[in-house]
């Protein structure tokens, strides 16, 4: 292993020196390359496929499952969204019917979409900046202390369904921990039934979601900060960078752009999918639908009412929202440091 590490190091030095280790490998084919193939026998598409049989064999198990359980369902969901389908009878094509009902006649969906957007707009960016900020501060520590702090911040996101402990914190009587503390401090006169009071539900769900949200993106940032070349900082301070904030903006962030983009995907996707905590902490349906999100609405129609066509339309809207906002943020992030 040590020998291999050395080898990898050697290779990268050779690469830095501008010597192409891979000179003897065939050049990479860009995506559009397939269309521009020369009609010589050696490069024909069929030959290239034949040559790579082993590659296809190796990817087959994964991609067969991937197509069955991810690609096909997305396509099915989009198709079914134009039908009325209750599982027992074959689906009936009804055009835009589901979407019209969804956006014009479904009051609860309007609440759901409003709540989901509030959730996403608040927890998405906040959790993203929390991940970045904490990772950045953690980077100032070393060794065991650093591993420990990382653990404290990361642990909630991996502790399974342990967020049910918030049920005890937010209990509606004076034995609830939050109520107990506030009563003790004389900030409230009576115990507040937090999760059954409309104006508090969304706020607390957001807090719990933020508590859970330092996940994969957070680890990515910690890792990304470690890989930044230390000499860049020395060079920057010679160039007149005065404080850590300038350092962050001009050196750190541009150097970890790939990680920033990946972290964004993780945080944004997560922020649209809030459902389980809402059902567990606020109940389903929650008081006046204060905790209803697109996903709980989807679960309602998909797993309880078996209106699969309608549920598919909800799923399609969710899909477009998630992918659309991801693409948008990716576009914005490309501009960091430019």
């Amino acid at each position: 292993m040590a020998c291999q590490q050395l080898r990898i190091k050697g290779e990268s030095i050779v690469k830095d020196m501008g010597i192409n280790v891979n000179a003897d490998r065939p050049r990479r084919w860009p995506l559009g390359g397939i269309l521009k193939l020369q009609p010589t026998e050696e490069w024909s598409l069929i030959n290239r496929i034949k040559k790579n049989v082993a590659s296809y064999v190796l990817i087959a198990p994964y991609f067969i499952l991937f197509f069955i359980f991810t690609v096909l369902p997305v396509a099915m969901s989009m198709t079914l969204s134009f039908t009325s389908f209750n599982v027992l009878e074959p689906p009936q094509f009804i055009g835009w019917g589901n979407y019209i009902r969804l956006f014009l006649n479904d009051d609860i969906f309007r609440i759901a979409i409003k709540n989901t957007l509030i959730f996403a707009v608040i927890t998405g960016p906040i959790s993203y900046f929390m991940c970045l900020l904490f990772a950045w501060i953690i980077n100032e520590f070393k060794g065991k202390l650093r591993a420990f702090i990382t653990l404290i911040f990361y642990a909630p996101s991996i502790s399974g369904n342990a967020y049910v402990v918030w049920n005890l914190i937010l209990r509606g009587d004076k034995y609830g921990i939050l109520n107990g503390i506030l009563l003790q401090l004389d900030l409230i006169d009576d115990a507040v039934i937090w999760m059954k009071t409309e104006k508090y539900v969304l706020m607390f769900l957001i807090i719990v979601q933020l508590w859970l949200s330092l996940g994969t993106g957070f680890l990515t940032f910690i890792a990304g900060l470690q890989t930044i070349d230390k000499t860049l900082y020395e060079a920057a301070s010679i160039d007149g960078i005065k404080n850590r904030w300038q350092e962050l903006w001009y050196v750190t962030l541009p150097s970890m752009k790939p990680q920033l983009m990946f972290g964004a995907v993780m945080q944004i996707t997560q922020s649209f999918a809030v459902a389980d905590i809402s059902v567990q902490l606020a109940g389903n349906p929650s008081v006046n639908y204060a905790g209803t999100t697109i996903v709980t609405h989807l679960m309602d129609y998909g797993s309880i009412r078996y209106e699969m066509g309608y549920a598919s339309a909800i799923a399609t809207v969710l899909f477009l929202l998630m992918v659309g906002s991801n693409k948008l943020v990716q576009k914005l992030l490309r501009k960091v440091g430019n």
Binding site: L65, M76, Y154, T220, Q226, A273, M322
Partner: protein, 297 residues
């Protein structure tokens, strides 16, 4: 690659001082105080998870609340034991189900995803880029989007109400393949090339060159997948009580009223402790894998 992570420097010397030039004392203090407050917010619920498990029932519902129990004991563990022996599905069955689902789902995912990651990282074959970009796209939405059709597909395949219904879709999660492929890209081509010259087949190379070299990555995949599978209640596909996992039992106990809260606190602790332990063991490997996780333009 940097290997500063987990280095055995003493705690006292743990603040880096060599970049003092750009660090003001006031800035340090502000940031660390802020960090401390947030750290408390993150830690307190988890401390409750731990301490609740050792609180007698009357301390669990106590006014004013107390973070640590005054008379810690193992009453709750005894409660859970009684509850377990009274449930009509033996409690060990829930544990067995969880072991099968999490173990199978994790192992299968690591094998299937790393097999696919090798060609995607190191071979040039037609269709490679489009396949990978579909996988990246799949990171941008969650499983709820495909929930309804997946139910129909799993019924059609005849695996509804079996372990496979939960495990098979998990084999093909996108995140694992993505991380594995990114990590494999940094293996030097010359290593593979020389194995080829020695007459090794691609399968041989995958097994004896690639896999031993990406140990941090498959540990990471295992831990991340374990967390996902561990949190799965399987409520959608597993109808029989005998097939349901521990998480399902937990939610049942938690939702079953104040008298059970002692037992619930113990189950919550078990549920949280196991994935956290795995993370502690594998932390440095995971961080190492994440260094390669960026999305390249």
């Amino acid at each position: 690659m940097q290997r500063t992570y987990g280095s055995r420097k003493k705690l006292l010397g743990s603040l880096k001082r060599h970049r003092g030039l750009n660090r003001s004392m006031a800035g340090n203090v502000t940031l660390f105080i802020f960090m401390g407050i947030c750290g408390v917010f993150m830690a307190v619920p988890l401390i409750f998870v731990i301490s609740n498990a050792f609180k007698p029932l009357d301390e669990l519902f106590r006014y004013p609340p107390r973070l640590f129990p005054r008379y810690p004991g193992f009453d709750n563990f005894a409660d859970l034991k009684v509850l377990m022996s009274n449930s009509w599905v033996p409690f060990s069955r829930y544990i067995l189900n969880t072991v099968i689902i999490t173990g199978g789902g994790t192992l299968g995912h690591v094998i299937v995803a790393s097999m696919a990651a090798y060609p995607l990282a190191k071979h040039d074959f037609p269709g490679k880029n489009i396949l990978f970009s579909i996988v990246v796209l799949s990171l941008m939405f969650t499983w709820q989007v495909t929930q309804v059709p997946n139910y129909l597909i799993i019924s059609k395949l005849g695996i509804n109400n079996t372990y496979l219904a939960v495990m098979l879709p998990a084999f093909s999660y996108g995140l694992g393949l993505y991380l594995m492929k990114q990590f494999m890209e940094q293996i030097p081509d010359s290593l593979i090339e020389s194995a080829r010259l020695d007459g090794a087949s691609e399968y041989r190379i995958y097994l004896s060159i690639i896999m031993p070299n990406v140990k941090p990555a498959w540990l990471t995949l295992a831990v991340l997948q374990f967390q996902t599978m561990w949190g799965n209640t399987g409520s959608q596909f597993l109808r029989d009580e005998q097939l349901k996992p521990l998480q399902y039992a937990l939610l049942q106990i938690v939702n079953s009223g104040p008298a059970r809260q002692g037992a619930a606190a113990v189950v919550t602790l078990i549920i949280a402790a196991i994935p956290i332990t795995f993370f502690i063991i594998c932390q440095s490997s995971i961080i190492e894998t994440m260094t390669t996780s960026g999305i390249k333009e």
